[in-house]
C-alpha cells in the first residue's frame, strides 16, 4: 500500500517544498501537486519538489484537458522526466466546472466530457510510449465509463472515501493488468481531534459530492441529498454553508477523510484489504503545516 499526499493550494512554493521533504522523510511514497485554476501552476511546483526530494514519486493533477491539450501535458512531462528522472505521473479528469468557467474555459456536457478526458489520456500515454519516457497516466474517476477506460492507461484514482462505494472499482476491474494502480484521492485532514478533522473536510467533500453523476447518486442512494444541493449551486455558482447543510455531514463523510492518526492508519489498512494500492490525502490537509506534520507522524506510527 502506498501513501500519498497532495500539496499546492494556497501555500507558497517554499511551504510546499518543506511539506514534501517532511512527508518523504516520514515514508510517504508519493507527493501530488494539485492544479486548481487559482493556484500555482503544477509542473513548475513539481520541478521544485523533485529538486528538493530524493526519490518519492511525484504526481501532477488533476489536470483538465479543457485547460491543457494533450500536447501541452506531454511538453510538461518531457521536461520533468528528462531532467529529474522517471518519477512523474499525471492525473487527468474533467476538472472543476465552475472554477474553469471563471477562467473562460467551458466544459462540454455529459459523455462528451468523459470522451475528451479519455482521448487526452490515451494521447499522453501514447506519447510517453513512443518517446520511451517512463511516466504514468491516471484517470480521475467516479463513474463506470471512466473506470472502464482507465484499463487502457496506468491506473485510476477515485475521489471519494467510502470503501463500500469504492467497491464499484474493484468489482469492475477484477482482472486488472499487472502494474495497474487502483487508488483513492479524497479530501483529507488529519489531526488529534476527530471532530475538528471531520469539520475541516466538509467544504471540499461537498465539492466532490456535487460532482457525482445522477446515475451514481441513484446507485448510492444519494439523490435526495445531492440533487437539491446541485441545483442550488448551479443557481448561485458557489458552495455556501446552507448547501453543505443540505447535503448533510453524514453523507459528506462518504466523500472526505477527516480523521485522527490512528483512524488514518486503520483506513489505510481497510483500503488495502479492499484491493487498493494507493491513498492520496487530498486538500485541505496541505493548507495546514500542523496537519502535514501530524500526517507524517501518523504514517510513522502506523508503520511501526
Amino acid at each position: 500500500m502506498e501513501w500519498g499526499v497532495a500539496l499546492n493550494v494556497s501555500e507558497t512554493v517554499s511551504t510546499t517544498i518543506d511539506s514534501a521533504v517532511i512527508l518523504e522523510e516520514a515514508g510517504f511514497d508519493q507527493i501530488w501537486i494539485t492544479d486548481y485554476p487559482s493556484d500555482r501552476y503544477a509542473p513548475v511546483v513539481a520541478a521544485a519538489v523533485a529538486e528538493a526530494t530524493t526519490g518519492c514519486k511525484i504526481g501532477l493533477g488533476l489536470l483538465s484537458p479543457y485547460l491543457y491539450p494533450a500536447g501541452h501535458i506531454t511538453q510538461m512531462l518531457e521536461t520533468l522526466i528528462l531532467t529529474y528522472g522517471p518519477r512523474f505521473s499525471v492525473l487527468l479528469g474533467p476538472g472543476d466546472r465552475y472554477a474553469l468557467q471563471r477562467v473562460g474555459v467551458k466544459q462540454d456536457r455529459g459523455t462528451i466530457v468523459v470522451e475528451r478526458v479519455i482521448e487526452t489520456a490515451l494521447q499522453v500515454k501514447q506519447f510517453l510510449v513512443e518517446r520511451d519516457l517512463q511516466g504514468r497516466v491516471f484517470l480521475g474517476a467516479q463513474g463506470p465509463r471512466m473506470i472502464d477506460a482507465s484499463e487502457r492507461v496506468d491506473g485510476v484514482l477515485l475521489n471519494y472515501t467510502d470503501l463500500e462505494m469504492a467497491r464499484l472499482v474493484t468489482e469492475r476491474l477484477r482482472t486488472r493488468k499487472r502494474g495497474f494502480i487502483m487508488g483513492l484521492f479524497p479530501p483529507s485532514h488529519v489531526s488529534p481531534d476527530a471532530q475538528a478533522s471531520r469539520e475541516s473536510v466538509l467544504f471540499a467533500s461537498t465539492m466532490v459530492a456535487l460532482g457525482l453523476t445522477r446515475s451514481l447518486q441513484k446507485k448510492f442512494g444519494l439523490s435526495e441529498r445531492i440533487g437539491p444541493a446541485s441545483r442550488a449551486v448551479q443557481e448561485s455558482g458557489r458552495v455556501t454553508k446552507e448547501i453543505i447543510d443540505t447535503v448533510g455531514e453524514d453523507t459528506l463523510h462518504r466523500f472526505g477523510l477527516g480523521v485522527t492518526g490512528p483512524q488514518l492508519c486503520r483506513y489505510m489498512k481497510d483500503a488495502e484489504a479492499y484491493g487498493y494500492d494507493l491513498v492520496v490525502l487530498g486538500p485541505p490537509l496541505c493548507m495546514s503545516s500542523q496537519a502535514v506534520r501530524y500526517a507524517a507522524e501518523a504514517r510513522r506510527a502506523c508503520v511501526e
Partner: protein, 330 residues
Amino acid sequence: MYRVSLGITTSMSVETTGWIAAGADSLGADGVWIGEDIGVGQDTNTLAASVILQSKRVRVGTGIIPIAPHNTSTIARASIALQEMANGRYALGIGIGGVQDIQRIGITLRRPVTELRRTVNILRALWSGQSVSKVTELHNLREYQLRLREAVDIPVFFGVRGPKMLALAGEISDGVILSGPRDYLKKAVEMVDSAARKAGRDPSGVEKIVWVPTVPTFRGMKERTGRKIVALIVADTPSVVLDMLDLNRDDLERIRSTVSREGPKAAAAMVSREILDAFAICGSKEYMVDRFDDLSRTGATEIVLGPPYSGEWREAIREILQEVASRRGG
C-alpha cells in the same frame, strides 16, 4: 557596462538547455532567456523552473511567451510559482508572437496592442491579489482571483516589434526584448525611450534587451548556417521594419520570395555580408563582442547570446563570455 545573457528555446533538447542552466552562473552570464517555439519541445514554464532550480545568481526570463495560445490564468499562476522559486530572479517576457506562428494555430487578433495592454493590467491586478472580471477578444475572466497570501512583484518584459507595440512597451513595461536588423534596433530603442518620456517615465528604467542570432564562426559554426538563419528572419520580418533599413529592398524581396518558394537553404546564397551583418552577429569572439559594444552604444542594456548552437558551441559561449569579462576588467 551592459549585461550579457544566454538564450535558449523550448525546441532545444533537455541536454542542451540543462547544460546552459547548470553552467550559466559559472560561465559569468547575467541571465538566461527562454523563447517559446509554439507547441514544440519543452513546456516554457517547466523549462524556466528547471533553469531557476539549476542556477543561483542569474536572472531567468521567458522571452517570450506568446499570450494568445495560453490562458491568461496559466501565465499568471506559473509566474507566481516561478518568482517564488527564484527569489526575485524571474522576469516574465510576453508578446503576441510571430504573426505566421499564431495564424498557423488558428489564432488571429484584431487589436493586438490593446490586448497586450489588457493582459499586463490583468496580470498585475492578479499578482496584487485582486479579483478580475474581464471579457475581451482574448480574455474571459469572471471574478477570477489567485489564492495568494501576499502580493508578488514580477517584472514584465515585452517582445515586440511594431511602432505601436514599442510605444506601449515604453509606456507600461519594465523592459523590452528587441530583435531585428541593426538600423531597426537603434530606431526601436529611440521609440521606446520617447514613449517612456511621454508617459512621464525615466527611459533608463525600461531595460532594452537585444536578442539577435549570434554565429561564432571561430568555433566550428559555419557562416552559411548564419546566412540560412538570416534568410528565414528576412522572410519573417514585417515590411514596416524592412522599410526602416538602409539595405537594398530588391535584394531583401528576392530573399523573401526564394524562402517562400524553395526554403531558407536556397535563399542563403543571396544573403550578402552586408545583410548578414545587419541581421546577425557573425565572426570571431573579438568581432562579436565589438558588435555587442556597438549595440550598447545605441542603447541596449543587455545582449542575448545564441542560438543557434552548433559546432563547438559550448567552447564558443565560454570564450565569448570570457572576452566580455576581460573588457569589463574582470
